[in-house]
């Protein structure tokens, strides 16, 4: 069974068709990297998957449960709010610009949702939060506020915050685009560690070498369609001219 299945997803903004018939499947423990030039629809796809954006057509299934199914014309029909609310708990998202809550300390950023939304036990949540912060190398920063941290540290807090809710699948929307190369390394290492623990992840990224090293499956998107996909070897040695051009530009 797939953790996430998206079939024939379509999305149009005003007159621009951003996603044209996109299908993807994510198995448990798999790391999927989505690459491609800016404006290719990668982020929109991720926003549809995380219910921040509504798709116009296609279907989306999390763990066998339909978040969206399509009618006979292929139009997207969303499940009832209580179903979506449950499905919402299956995934987490790490944003490009972190979106930490500035008025919460690091610890509170991580603990608040598990306590107030999931109503979990305080001692358990705090222990879990400390473990996560330790894993992120932030055990010293518990009491600090986001503005006191570097971008890389903020992003690691936001990863801990997403993981604290025990998602089955974690999405990353260009997690290193707002960071300098040195800080980028920190984040990529954290993601690699998560991959080693078989965390299921879908990562939109511009870091080609990282995608190559960490992903089990790479999807190359352009103009709202999947141009090429497969294992890193397949994609990086693809004969597709557009793929080669894109990778070639990166070499320079």
């Amino acid at each position: 069974m797939y953790l996430l299945e998206m079939n024939h997803v379509r999305k149009t903004f005003e007159d621009v068709e951003v996603l044209k018939d996109i299908s993807l499947k994510v198995k448990e423990g798999e790391v999927v990297a989505i690459i491609g030039p800016s404006g290719s629809g990668k982020s929109t796809l991720l926003r549809c998957a995380t219910l921040l954006e509504t798709m116009d057509g296609g279907e989306m299934i999390y763990c066998g449960e339909h978040a969206v199914h399509s009618d006979k014309d292929g139009n997207a029909i969303y499940a009832k709010p209580d179903v979506l609310k449950k499905i919402q708990t299956y995934f987490g998202l790490v944003f490009q610009n972190f979106n930490l809550f500035p008025h919460f300390s690091v610890m509170k950023n991580v603990c608040h949702a598990p306590l107030k939304v999931q109503k979990r036990d305080k001692a358990e949540v705090e222990q879990k939060a400390r473990e996560l912060l330790h894993k992120m190398g932030l055990e010293e920063k518990e009491k600090q506020y986001p503005f006191q941290l570097s971008g890389g540290q903020q992003q690691r807090v936001s990863i801990a915050r997403a993981l604290a809710l025990n998602p089955k699948i974690l999405f990353f929307d260009e997690p290193t685009s707002a960071l300098d190369p040195e800080l980028t390394g920190e984040i990529l290492k954290v993601i690699k560690d998560l991959a080693a623990e078989h965390m299921t992840m879908v990562i939109v990224t511009h870091e080609m070498n990282f995608a190559r090293n960490v992903a089990d499956h790479i999807i190359f998107m352009e103009h709202g369609v999947i141009v090429e996909e497969g294992s890193p070897e397949e994609v990086f040695h693809s004969n597709n001219p557009r793929m080669q051009e894109f990778l070639g530009k990166l070499e320079k």
């Binding site: 609310k85 944003f95 979106n99 809550f101 939304v117 999931q118 506020y145």
Partner: protein
């Protein structure tokens, strides 16, 4: 020697007399001070709450709610508060022939102040709420917060921090605006000041009134400065 001593004694007596007169004036104005302070606190309480309701109306998705709220704010901000007080006090009589008792004076003043300031506060709230980055809402949604939780835990605390300076501004204006209650001859600070100054042809009531409003506002300013400092733990 004797002359100098005499002058000093005279000077001391002069200061003493002035001091006594000042204290005397203060005690005569005290009743007015209490009423002014009452108007101030009641207005602040009701307008800060009502302002939130108006702000939500102003930001409503529904035209039928949003438009009237917009008109209300426009009128409240576009006409003199003094005129609004007169309309609220005399309106029921002129328009509906209702008898108005003098006990209604204070009520009319409070209604007028509360709805007028609510309009201003509503716009301050709206600016504060709309300034919260959309990413905060998206992060909250992804973490499973519902709309009410998002507003209470995530949005409101950040809005409060942002709106403290403009609210302080408005509050300082309110202290001075309480004097407009004299339009309906409510016996507050300013009404008394004018009466006493006219009756005794003396400057002293004005001096006392000036000091009263100034110190009142100093307290308001210091209080808001303290709140701002308290909220300065994050950026």
């Amino acid at each position: 020697m004797v002359e100098i001593r005499f002058e000093i004694v005279e000077l001391i007596n002069g200061i003493k007399d002035f001091g006594l007169y000042f204290v005397h004036m203060c005690s005569r104005l005290a009743e007015g001070m209490v009423v002014s302070v009452q108007i101030f606190f009641c207005t602040l309480f009701f307008s800060l709450l009502l302002g939130l309701v108006v702000a939500f109306g102003r930001m409503s998705k529904h035209f039928i709610v949003r438009f009237p709220t917009k008109v209300f704010i426009s009128i409240m901000r576009g006409t003199p508060l003094m005129l609004q007080l007169l309309v609220i006090y005399f309106g029921p009589w002129f328009m509906f022939g209702m008898k108005i008792s003098s006990g209604y004076k204070m009520t009319a003043v409070l209604i007028g102040f509360a709805i007028n300031y609510a309009a201003y506060f509503a716009e301050i709230y709206r600016a504060g709420i709309e300034a919260i980055p959309v990413g905060q809402y998206e992060a909250a949604k992804l973490l499973g917060y519902n709309k009410a939780q998002t507003f209470i835990y995530i949005v409101m605390p950040q809005v409060i921090k942002r709106i403290v300076p403009p609210v302080a501004n408005e509050t300082i204006t309110l202290v001075k605006d309480t004097s407009l209650a004299y339009t309906l001859s409510v016996i507050e600070m300013f009404t008394l000041t004018k009466q006493i100054a006219a009756a005794e042809t003396s400057m002293m009531p004005f001096v006392v009134a000036g000091i009263f409003y100034y110190i009142f506002n100093l307290v308001v300013a210091v209080t808001f400065e303290y709140i701002e400092k308290k909220l300065g733990y994050y950026r």
